[in-house]
């Protein structure tokens, strides 16, 4: 919504400056988005007078004008307008100015051998009207203003407001004036409407058809006969232009004017084009309609249409039709002022993807009691400007509109806002805003004005009172520093730790979209159900991600293009296993690309992270089953021994997906679940000070034996004596059969109770050898 101070003063008697008004508007909830000089781009255009219009020496149709632009010297302008003549007052565009119609920047140029310094303008060139036949002819009153800017007479700014959807009443200048007035910014001026003589009944029959979901409940109309539609007078054109609207013709301009002035949308029909009568009804499926935006619409059933015997004339509250549109030669018009249901209007417009100033207002809720005043004001203006006779006003309605009443306990203001507010303040503010307040004991009965559909309960009234009183009057209360619950829960603490743990291993944290490219996602989707976005922002972001890899690999590749060959990236966030709330899991996903990196490198990053997260390595086991996007021979999963809970995957990403990239995924919910039921306080520990011995073993085993099994067997030989088992070499090659490999381990042996002697050590070594040889077809390498 836009306004100018000049227009505002039609409704508000105020001596406040524009700056004060802007500040106040912000403080009462009418947010000022922008303040701009009215039509700034036109301020270059000056009122000028042609002193002499000579014939162009080299062209029959051109004239060489000597123009007074309020400076010492006249300027020479070549002009093609046939009406250019001596003493004509017109508008001059200097070199450097931009012509609004085609956005061309004027330059000093030679036209048929004569230099032209600027241009004399037609209305169409300045977007004032479509008139392009000659240059503008200004009337005599501009004589004293030669050299002044034509458009910037008032020095006014246009103030653009962002009106919240609950305030349809402020989509008209009058509503804004009312708000400012209640905030102490002047007196609201009574609506003065010129009384005109009305003769005769409105004899075009209007019928509102009763049906389910009929959006129209009131239809007011006025017939105006024998008008002479024409261009609007300058003052009206300027008003519309100041809000950025294009003047069209007096009838159309007046309906627009009343809409912005009173927030009362109107529509004017060419009455001669209405076939017999007006029927407001619901549309039938596939009914066709050509709207004023020159587009054809194919209607659904149940849309509110204004029709006659021939068909649809307009979409109620949204847009009129071409067939009954008014033109300059229109003689008789029917003016409509109606009420359309917000919800139904919005639904229809949404289905047809149609937007208009009227629809914007009706879907927010138009004052049902403004039907009459809208018709009165508009018809009076039309008669004044275009002549003609206006009929009496006809109002058809199917529903009585009742004013809402709210019982209001004034104490609630302090209870909610925390600010003591006097009863007389409450009464005054509400009264100024148009509410009728009656005292009934300790309770107020408050009648809500018809233009405030947003006020439904006592908290709405509290808001009215406090926004006018000013939020700055509320005393702020220091927060209490008391904690009832821990800030983070167990899961969140682990999330936080995991994030920083991975980062501390040299990984940069990324945040990528939760959605991704379906094609890429398919590689990683596995068993999960795909969650498609119905209206994606682009076709390559059309599904929710089933894995964090697709986007991470995408950004990795982009960084490779930027010249970063070595990268470690990670993300912690959701992946989606369906399209219902809660069908998501939290994953920490890291990827690493580096020269000479291998699966043991990525495994180190992962295992160290798990360790830091409190997972005891002894509680887990490695499985080689991994999803298909991993290299089948170079990947693994980490699973808890108890209950087989999947904690993580790691490995080389399948070379078909991306070349030489390693990654891991930690499943945080699983990890936290395992941690919380496996939670135990650390047992007290004593550290043995007795002699520690180390023994090395090398076993020749089957080539496909997993080292993990071997280590496990040795551990289990004697849990109390074996303190560590560490593999230090794996060998295949000379001296070893081709289907075998040799694994060399260092075993640390220590007793908690005594120093072990040679015999003890030999015994345990023997036990290790025999256990291994027995259980996994191994031979001690000699």
């Amino acid at each position: 919504m836009k306004l100018t101070r000049e227009w505002l003063k039609d409704h508000l008697k105020t001596n406040k400056t524009e700056l004060q008004i802007i500040e106040k508007l912000n403080n009462i909830g009418l947010e000022v988005e922008k303040v701009e000089p009215v039509k700034n781009e036109l301020s270059d255009f000056l009122i000028a007078k042609i002193i002499k219009a000579d014939k162009h020496p080299n062209a029959d149709r051109l004239k060489l004008c000597h123009v007074d632009i309020g400076q010492n010297d006249l300027v020479k302008v070549v002009c093609g307008g046939p009406n250019a003549k001596d003493n004509l007052l017109t508008i001059y565009a200097p070199p450097g100015s931009v012509i609004p119609k085609n956005n061309m920047k004027l330059e000093i140029s030679k036209i048929r051998g004569e230099t032209s310094y600027g241009m004399l303008c037609s209305e169409s060139e300045l977007n004032i009207s479509d008139e392009s036949d000659g240059i503008i002819e200004l009337n005599k009153k501009y004589k004293s203003q030669i050299g002044k800017s034509y458009f910037n007479e008032s020095q006014d700014n246009v103030i653009e407001l962002s009106i919240t959807p609950n305030r349809p009443d402020c989509l008209g200048i009058r509503g804004i004036a009312r708000d400012l007035s209640s905030a102490g910014f002047g007196k609201l001026i009574d609506n003065k409407i010129k009384k005109i003589k009305r003769s005769g009944k409105q004899n075009l029959k209007v019928k509102i058809q009763k049906s389910k979901n009929q959006a129209c409940s009131i239809f007011g109309s006025c017939l105006i006969k024998n008008i002479k539609n024409q261009e609007s007078p300058d003052w009206l054109k300027k008003r519309l232009l100041s809000l950025g609207l294009r003047p069209i013709s007096a009838v159309v301009d007046i309906t627009n004017y009343v809409m912005f002035d009173l927030n009362r949308p109107l529509h004017a029909y060419d009455a001669d084009k209405i076939n017999k009568e007006i029927i407001v009804r619901n549309s039938k499926k596939n009914e066709k309609f050509k709207a004023l935006d020159n587009k054809d619409y194919n209607l659904d059933d149940g849309m509110c249409v204004i029709s006659d015997h021939q068909g649809v004339l307009g979409l109620g509250g949204i847009i009129g039709g071409i067939r009954s549109g008014t033109e300059l030669n229109t003689k008789n018009i029917l003016l409509e002022s109606a009420f359309f249901d917000p919800e139904i209007t919005r639904k229809t417009a949404k289905k047809l993807d149609l937007n208009s100033d009227a629809k914007f207002r009706f879907e927010r809720g138009i004052d049902p009691n403004s039907i009459l005043i809208g018709l009165e004001k508009a018809s009076a203006m039309i008669v004044e400007i275009c002549g003609g006779q206006a009929s009496n006003i006809d109002i058809q309605s199917t529903q009585q509109f009742k004013l809402k009443k709210i019982n209001f306990d004034p104490k609630i203001v302090e209870k909610i806002v925390g600010l003591k507010t006097k009863l007389q303040d409450i009464t005054k503010i509400l009264g100024d805003l148009g509410f009728k307040v009656k005292k009934k004991g300790k309770i107020l009965t408050i009648e809500v004005p018809s233009w405030r559909p947003d006020i439904n309960g006592d908290v709405d009234l509290v808001e009215e009172i406090i926004r006018i009183k000013g939020f700055n009057n509320i005393q702020s209360i220091e927060p209490e520093k008391k904690r009832i619950k821990p800030t983070l829960n167990f899961f969140q603490r682990n999330f936080h730790l995991a994030q920083r743990s991975v980062a501390s291993k040299g990984y940069l944290e990324s945040i990528t979209w939760s959605f991704t490219d379906e094609k890429l996602n398919n590689i990683f989707k596995e068993k999960y159900q795909e969650a498609k976005i119905v209206n994606p922002i682009s076709s390559d972001l059309n599904v929710l991600r089933s894995s964090l890899y697709p986007n991470l690999i995408h950004v990795l590749n982009k960084n490779i293009d930027r010249g970063f060959d070595d990268q470690s990236l990670f993300e912690i966030g959701p992946l989606f296993i369906g399209n219902k709330p809660g069908q998501q899991i939290t994953v920490v996903c890291g990827i690493r690309k580096e020269n000479l990196f291998d699966v043991y490198g990525i495994k180190k990053d992962l295992v160290q992270t798990l360790l830091e997260l409190g997972i005891n390595k002894k509680d887990t086991t490695i499985d080689t089953n991994t999803p298909s996007y991993y290299h089948p021979g170079r990947s693994g999963s980490i699973i808890t021994k108890k209950d087989n809970i999947l904690l993580a995957y790691f490995g080389e990403i399948h070379p078909k997906v991306v070349d030489k990239v390693y990654g891991f995924e930690i499943f945080l919910e699983n990890l936290v679940k395992f941690k919380s039921y496996n939670k135990k306080t650390k047992p007290t520990v004593t550290f043995s000070d007795y002699q520690k011995s180390e023994r090395d073993f090398a076993f020749v085993v089957q080539k496909d034996l997993k080292a993990q099994e071997l280590v496990e067997i040795i551990w289990n030989v004697d849990n109390s004596l074996i303190k560590n088992v560490k593999i230090f070499d794996v060998y295949q090659g000379d001296n070893i059969p081709s289907d075998k490999k040799s694994i060399a381990l260092k075993v640390t042996i220590q007793s908690d109770f005594k120093t072990l002697n040679e015999k003890d050590l030999n015994d345990i070594s023997q036990k290790i050898i025999s256990n291994v040889e027995e259980k996994v077809e191994a031979k001690l390498r000699s």
Partner: protein
């Protein structure tokens, strides 16, 4: 002079003249070895009378002590000399680069979430979360935003079903409802998370981060709301004073509603937060609408309170001077390195928010 004395003096001379630790080591055997001077002299004791024995033994012991002292002195001086010699030749160019190391980084959004959590932790809020995929009901209806309401126009929603019943949450406000349904008042929570709107241009990304705040108790007023946000903004920007204004606004789920602006000015192309004559909108807030409380099974006659929603990315941009919102989600390696935070730099109440 006895033979013992003679031998002893010989060895002392030898020791004095020894030139390196190897020679000293050989002398060690001659003196203290199994058949060295001291041991052979002790062996002779057996043939002596008890009186003599005592005498000679003490003599040998004295000699042993003397020799040990001398020996250790010589050894350590030689060792020192040798280390000095070695060190003379060990000269590395320490201006050569250190070995490679890699420092990981925490994304500014994560860091700011931790900062915010730390601030609100101090005043008793706990962190709650909700799903990214929401139903129409939790995202709109329960929040007092009826179907076909123009307020929805401000939320360009991503839908996951043709019937528009499931969607990607457009704000973190559904967490309010979910939290209240899951517990009993009082509630004092914040809820950070990913939010989505199908909007993409210079200043909008289809995914962004919001922080929801909710405080419901028996008599929480707008005064508490003001105090809470004032505290938060001051702590977050680490400023003693900050210019702030509450502007009436409209959100279907709060009544009264307000938007909060903070003062700023531009100096040398840099934004200075907290003072100046320009205003910057940073959050929306208000008193929770009774309908939302009802939908959340909280009795609006007994409980009331405030809620607020803040754009986390925007806060990060303001605090850390990041200009382009879109860059947050592009994962440019240079950007992550430059704007990211050291993982050890954990914002805490006792250490402070930022390094």
């Amino acid at each position: 002079m006895s033979d013992f004395e003679k031998l002893k003096n010989q060895l002392i001379n030898k020791l004095t003249e020894a030139k390196n630790s190897k020679e000293v080591d050989l002398i060690r055997t001659e003196i203290f070895g199994k058949n060295g001077l001291i041991n052979s002299e002790f062996k002779k004791l057996g043939s002596l009378s008890p009186d003599e024995k005592k005498n000679v033994a003490s003599k040998i012991n004295n000699a042993k002590q003397e020799l040990t002292k001398l020996f250790n002195k010589k050894l350590s001086s030689l060792e020192n000399f040798e280390i000095d010699e070695r060190v003379k030749n060990e000269k590395d160019d320490v201006t050569l680069p250190e070995k490679d190391f890699r420092i990981g980084k925490i994304h500014p959004v994560s860091q700011v979430i931790d900062e915010i959590s730390s601030i609100f932790s101090e005043i008793g809020f706990n962190v709650e979360e909700g799903p990214d995929v929401e139903t129409e009901y939790y995202n709109f209806t329960a929040l007092n935003t009826p179907e076909n309401h123009p307020a929805k126009d401000m939320h360009d929603t991503f839908y996951l079903e043709e019937n528009m019943k499931t969607l990607l949450r457009t704000h973190t406000s559904p967490v309010q409802v979910r939290t209240m349904l899951n517990g009993k008042p009082p509630f004092k929570i914040i809820a950070p998370g990913r939010t989505y709107r199908s909007d993409s241009d210079q200043t909008h990304t289809p995914m962004f981060h919001q922080l929801e705040g909710l405080h419901i108790d028996k008599n929480i007023t707008m005064g508490h709301l003001k105090g809470c946000l004032n505290y938060f903004i001051k702590e977050f920007f680490e400023l003693e004073k900050i210019k702030m204004r509450f502007r009436p606004s409209h959100f279907p789920f709060t009544e009264p509603s307000a938007e909060v602006d903070i003062g700023y000015r531009i100096e040398n192309n840099k934004i200075i937060i907290g003072e100046g004559d320009k205003w910057l909108e940073i959050l929306g807030c208000g008193m929770v609408h009774p309908n939302v409380l009802k939908n959340s099974k909280v009795d609006p006659n007994k409980f009331q309170g405030f809620a607020f929603g803040i754009g986390i990315d925007r806060l990060a941009m303001l605090k850390y001077g990041i200009n382009d919102l879109r860059s947050f989600f592009e994962s440019d390696y240079r950007w992550l390195n430059y704007y990211g935070f050291d993982p050890l730099d954990v914002p805490t109440n006792y250490r402070g928010l930022s390094k």
